[in-house]
Structures are given as structure tokens and as C-alpha cells.
């Protein structure tokens, strides 16, 4: 039983990292309607910034998180403005390929700046965990990640539900043209979405690397794809969906590794995704919009 609970905790910790990344994916998808494959690489940049600030400049961890968020936000706005904005009227495939181009660019730029040799990221959170939790493998990072994840989800739900900007985002998501006619600045709203998504990516990057210490230019790729799967799992575009999807994905992965096969863990995760999509074609929490003629 104890061992089972330990696996569950492992799954929860990894799952909440996926969840934070998935929240970023889902925000951008929900509003800009594009699959931002460069999201995983923004995560990597965020982690590098945090590493540079703590290791090279010797500043405290919290400063590094703020710096990472600031840089990634700026980067998100920059990428959106330079690469995605010119393609606003183009087909979604063109945007998809551009996002992949951006992903290659970020990975290679990071390698030129910081080198190919992996860095070891020292966890930014370290405090003693109560003994009764320690027995179940609960680490300080996991605790912080789960709490951060819940806070971010609550914050996003409040933001999109209550604030003016959030309402504008929802309007743009529903119908771009109608939103424009209502006096909403669509371009600014989309930029804002990217800013938020990238800020989340920075936080996710810091937490991911606190959890799994190897930092290299390809660090963000695989967690990015898995988190993307998580977002689809929960119903892409849905904020609670991304949260639930991320956590579930982490747990399924842990259980598959523990009880079935480590070699096939990814296949099992993807297999569950396929089954879910066949039963609920829009994911767990997604709205199914029937096609109109």
C-alpha cells in the first residue's frame, strides 16, 4: 500500500508540472487557436534564465523566478509579434510550421548562448518536509509545484471570468470578427495571451528543472509534447481540463512505469489518450461543437 501511495505521489508531482505547462498551451490555443509547438522551448529558456541568475549572478531564487517570468513574457510577445502576427490571416498549417521553426530557432539559439553541455539546475525550493509526508516520497518541490499549479489555475479562471481583459479574451476566442466589431483590440488581446502563456512557461521551466535537474537546449521538448497531450486529454482550451489532464497524465505514466513496463510507459499514456478521445471526442472537459452547415 505504501509503495502504491509513493507511486501516486510521484505521479502527482510530475503531473502537476505537466499541468502548469498544459495550462500555458491551453490558454494560447483557446484564444489564438494555434498549436504553439514552441511552448516547450520557452520553458527551456525560462529555466536557463533562472539558472543564470542564481548560478552566475548569485542572486536569490525568488529574483531568478521574477527574471525568468519577465524575460519569457517579453520573449512571448516578441515571438508572437515577429512570427505569428504576420500570419494572422494565413491557414493554420502555415502557423504550425512557423511555430516549429520558432522551436528550432530557440533550441539552437540556446545552444549557441549556453553551450551544448548540460547544466545541473539546483532546486530553487528546499525546506524540510514534515516526516509523515516524507514517508511517501513527498519532496519540497512537489509540494510547491502542486500548490503553484492550483494557484495558477484559480488565478487563470478568475482572470478569464472576471476581468475586462479576460472577458475580451473569451470574446476573441468565440468570434474574432464579432469581437473586433465590439471594439476589442484583437491583436493586443492575442499578444496578451501569449504574454500570459509565456509567463506560465517560465514558472513551469523553473519547477520542471527543480524537479528534474538536467538543463540542456532540448529540455523542454518532451515535457512540451506530453503536456500538450495532457491539454488535449482534458479538452484543449479548457482551463480546468488542462489541470485535470496534466495530473491524470502524470499518474497514468507513474502507474504504467510501476506496474506494466517502463519501456512502454509512453505508449500506454498515448493509448489512454486515444481511448478517451474516441469516447469523448473533445477531451474530458472540452465543449463539443457540432459542425454547422
Amino acid at each position: 500500500m505504501t509503495v502504491f501511495l509513493q507511486y501516486l505521489v510521484n505521479g502527482l508531482s510530475m503531473g502537476s508540472v505537466y499541468a502548469i505547462i498544459a495550462l500555458g498551451y491551453t490558454m494560447v490555443y483557446g484564444i489564438a487557436k494555434m498549436l504553439n509547438f514552441a511552448h516547450g522551448d520557452v520553458i527551456m529558456i525560462g529555466a536557463y534564465i533562472s539558472f543564470v541568475v542564481t548560478s552566475y549572478m548569485g542572486l536569490p531564487a525568488i529574483v531568478s523566478v521574477i527574471a525568468a517570468v519577465a524575460v519569457c513574457t517579453a520573449l512571448g510577445i516578441l515571438i508572437e509579434g515577429l512570427a505569428y502576427k504576420p500570419l494572422r490571416q494565413a491557414g493554420p498549417l502555415a502557423v504550425l510550421i512557423t511555430a516549429i521553426g520558432v522551436s528550432y530557432f530557440l533550441q539552437n539559439a540556446a545552444q549557441l548562448i549556453w553551450g551544448a553541455t548540460p547544466k545541473n539546475f539546483t532546486s530553487i525550493v528546499s525546506f524540510p518536509v514534515p516526516a509523515f509526508l516524507k514517508a511517501y516520497n513527498v519532496s519540497a518541490v512537489s509540494l510547491v509545484t502542486v500548490i503553484a499549479c492550483l494557484l495558477i489555475m484559480a488565478g487563470l479562471m478568475w482572470f478569464t471570468g472576471k476581468t475586462k481583459m479576460g472577458k475580451a479574451m473569451r470574446a476573441v476566442s468565440e468570434d474574432k470578427a464579432a469581437a473586433q466589431l465590439m471594439g476589442i483590440n484583437v491583436n493586443r488581446t492575442i499578444s496578451m495571451t501569449f504574454a500570459i502563456g509565456s509567463a506560465l512557461a517560465a514558472i513551469a521551466g523553473v519547477l520542471l528543472c527543480s524537479y528534474s535537474p538536467v538543463l540542456q537546449p532540448t529540455t523542454g521538448s518532451m515535457p512540451g509534447i506530453k503536456a500538450f497531450t495532457a491539454a488535449v486529454f482534458g479538452g484543449i482550451g479548457s482551463i480546468p481540463g488542462a489541470f485535470v489532464g496534466g495530473i491524470l497524465l502524470g499518474i497514468i505514466e507513474a502507474m504504467a512505469q510501476a506496474y506494466i513496463s517502463t519501456s512502454l510507459a509512453n505508449s500506454i499514456v498515448f493509448g489512454v489518450l486515444i481511448v478517451v478521445l474516441l469516447v469523448k471526442p473533445a477531451g474530458l472537459f472540452g465543449k463539443y461543437v457540432p459542425e454547422k452547415v
Binding site: N10, Q111, V141, P213, L215, Q216, T218, S263, N266
Partner: protein, 398 residues
């Protein structure tokens, strides 16, 4: 909801845009072609006027295995500088293969166009298998891989050599050493099932361990795309009562493994192989985690006799050299000695080199960074394995 439904992406590409796109790509291609002669792309250590012997190096310089390839290419470059004499100058050029067989063959052909006379590389096993077959075809090219450890690389090929231990050797050696040093521990073998090097050592280790009656209580695997966290595997190993990990894995996942074990409070001994060398050089790595880690590697950056090389390497590349760089350095060393043995000069034809060097290789003895190296006629190296243990952040002979 969905943005990529059939309706929204009708073929909108018209002919003009296709032409514009293709023209754009073509322009870059031409640009690239024109600038070809001016820059030498890779790293050139000496003048490129035909008076120097051209050594090519191949390794992943981008992608997730980039650090290994970078070490190999740096090692080759440094060695070309060091082993150049007035009679025989060496010049090197490095090409990227992203640890992929197809790209590696491209890199090989590209180097052949440059005029390469001998190849030190590729770095990774898969890429080396692909290139070795091409190198062994007519026209032959002499190849010595510094780090590809599968016996298949050299098997049935006349002009292909290895400068590192091969996997079966290393796995069996590790089992023998462990049986001597820790006969009573309960072992878990932890390896990368998606990696030739790691699973190759594991296979040989398990076979030998059975013979020596080592107590293996569990085996855990991972793959490159799930190398972010090993807590599940460690939980299983702990549950099985393992007291020592044998991990034939590279140092990047090893640092995750150590961090995870520490985080879980799992107090376990660990031994790795040559791929784990370099773990102390990882920037930002908390070396206290690696305290007491056993390594079976032919090279140690902390050893007295290697001090000159380590200093020169640090000077040039701002990093502590790992076993990849040392093996690459020794490989170039071997090529320089074998050339002298065969009486070949800088103007030797690549096919001639490939025909004469194999015999010369079996006659030379290299007093290198990774020990005393000799080669058999199959192309495999013979050198002594050494076990080191990390004490106070340094490698100490165990």
C-alpha cells in the same frame, strides 16, 4: 473549437507562393554554396594547403547528445595540434551528425569531399554502425571511433578500429570487479533500454553476474524521452531491497538519478561505467551527491600523468575534459603512430591509408591518456579497466 478542420485549410497555396518559397530556399542554397570556399566550417588547426594530413571528426554537435560530440571534436582538434610535427602536420575538421545514422553518413561524405584521409569518429554507436559500413566500402576510408562501443562496429570490417572498450568487455569487467569488491550487496541494474551502449553493457553484465553469482534483485530501465525523472524506478528498486545500483548510463541521466535518490532519501551505493565520467564537470552539479560513486573508466582528469592534457584542454575550451575527449585524443595519437609505422606522409591517398594503416595499428602501442593501448586484428582495443571512486569531489583510484 477546432482550427484545423478540413474547411479552414483548403489548398490555398497558389503557384506564385510556391515559386516564391522555392526561390527563397534556392537563394539560400546558392548563398551557402558560394561562401563554401572561404570558411572552413569546422575547426581547422593548421594551414589547409595540402601539406597536412587531414583528419575528420564526426559527432553530435547539436541535439540532446551534443555534449559528447563536442568533447570528441575538441579532443581531436587538440590532438591534431599536439601531434603535429615538422614532418607531418595534422589538420582536423568536425562535422555534426545529431547522433543519427543518416546524418552521420552525410557528414562522412561531406568530409570525404573535403579530402579527409582518416576519420576519428563517429561518436555514438548507431551513427558509427552506419558510417563503418560506408567507410568499409570501396573506396575505403580508415576509421577509428573514439567512443562507439558495440562490437558490431568493428566486426567484419578491415579498416574500422575502436579506441574505447567494447560493451561486452566492459560489462564483464564490471561484473568481475563488483564480485571482487562487493560480493554481498543486492544489485539493481539501471540502464537505458533505448541506447545501444547502455543495453549492450547490461546484457554482458547480467550474463557474467549470473556466472559469478552476484545477487541481482531488480532491473530498471528508462528511455531518452522519459529521462526527466526516475523516482518510479527508484521506488521499485528500493521496494525490492536493492543496496547497490549498477548503472551503465551516461552522466546526464546519472545526475538525475543521483538527485532523485537523494531527494527520496534512498541511501544506495552506485557504480557506473566510462560514460558516467564527466559527471563532476557538469556545471552547477552538487558534487556532494556523487560522493562515494564508483566509476569504471579508463580515464581520470585528476590523475597526475594527464595534468598537461587537462590544462591544455581547459585552456582551449574552458571545460574539464571527459573520457570522450581523452579517447578521441588517444585515437589521433594512434593514427599518428600508425602513419609513422606504415611510412605514410601527409600526401597519402585515403585508399592507401585505409589499406596500410590496419596492419600498422596492430603493431603499435600507445601510451595514452586512457592507459596503454594495443589493438588486435579485429580492430578492438586492449587496455586495462580502472575503478575510481569519487572522494571530496575528486576521482581517486579504488
Amino acid at each position: 473549437m477546432s482550427c484545423l478542420t478540413g474547411k479552414s485549410f483548403n489548398p490555398v497555396m497558389n503557384r506564385r507562393s510556391v515559386i516564391a518559397g522555392v526561390a527563397g530556399l534556392g537563394a539560400v542554397g546558392i548563398l551557402a554554396g558560394c561562401s563554401g570556399n572561404e570558411s572552413e566550417g569546422g575547426s581547422t588547426a593548421a594551414a589547409d594547403d595540402g601539406s597536412a594530413f587531414k583528419i575528420g571528426a564526426i559527432g553530435p554537435l547539436t541535439g540532446s547528445a551534443a555534449s559528447y560530440g563536442t568533447s570528441v571534436c575538441n579532443g581531436v582538434e587538440l590532438a591534431c595540434k599536439d601531434f603535429s610535427t615538422d614532418d607531418l602536420k595534422f589538420v582536423s575538421k568536425s562535422e555534426d551528425d545529431v547522433a543519427d545514422g543518416e546524418k552521420s553518413v552525410n557528414a562522412f561524405n561531406s568530409l570525404a569531399d573535403w579530402g579527409m584521409q582518416a576519420l576519428v569518429g563517429p561518436t555514438t554507436t548507431g551513427a558509427s554502425l552506419a558510417v563503418a559500413e560506408v567507410a568499409n566500402q570501396d573506396p575505403q576510408m580508415f576509421m577509428i571511433t573514439p567512443s562507439a562501443s558495440s562490437p558490431d562496429v568493428t566486426a567484419d570490417k578491415t579498416c574500422v578500429f575502436q579506441a574505447c572498450f567494447n560493451d561486452p568487455n566492459q560489462g564483464a569487467n564490471a561484473a568481475t570487479k563488483l564480485a571482487e569488491m562487493f560480493p554481498d550487496e543486492k544489485f539493481v541494474v539501471f540502464y537505458n533500454s533505448g541506447d545501444t551502449y547502455s543495453s549492450g553493457i547490461r546484457d554482458a553484465f547480467v550474463a557474467k553476474a549470473e556466472e559469478l553469482k552476484l545477487n541481482i534483485v531488480d532491473e530498471e530501465t528508462f528511455k531518452d524521452d522519459s529521462a526527466t525523472s526516475f523516482t518510479n524506478q527508484l521506488t521499485k528498486a528500493k521496494d525490492a531491497g536493492a543496496t547497490m545500483i549498477f548503472a551503465p548510463i551516461y552522466y546526464t541521466p546519472a545526475s538525475v538519478l543521483l538527485a532523485n535518490a537523494n531527494e527520496m532519501g534512498y541511501d544506495v551505493k552506485m557504480m557506473g561505467c566510462d560514460g558516467m565520467d564527466g559527471i563532476l564537470g557538469v556545471e552547477g552539479f552538487d558534487t556532494s551527491l556523487a560522493e562515494g560513486l564508483y566509476l569504471m573508466t579508463p580515464f581520470s582528469a585528476d590523475e597526475e600523468k594527464n595534468a598537461d592534457f587537462v590544462a591544455a584542454y581547459k585552456d582551449a575550451y574552458d571545460e574539464v575534459p571527459d573520457q570522450f575527449a581523452a579517447d578521441a585524443y588517444d585515437a589521433v595519437h594512434a593514427v599518428s603512430l600508425a602513419l609513422a609505422e606504415a611510412g605514410l606522409g601527409a600526401d597519402a591517398d585515403p585508399a592507401d591509408v585505409a589499406a596500410k594503416l590496419p596492419e600498422a595499428m596492430t603493431k603499435i602501442t600507445v601510451e595514452g591518456l586512457t592507459g596503454t593501448l594495443t589493438w588486435n586484428d579485429k580492430g578492438e582495443v586492449e587496455k586495462d579497466p580502472m575503478v575510481y571512486v569519487i572522494k571530496d569531489g575528486k576521482y581517486v583510484a579504488a
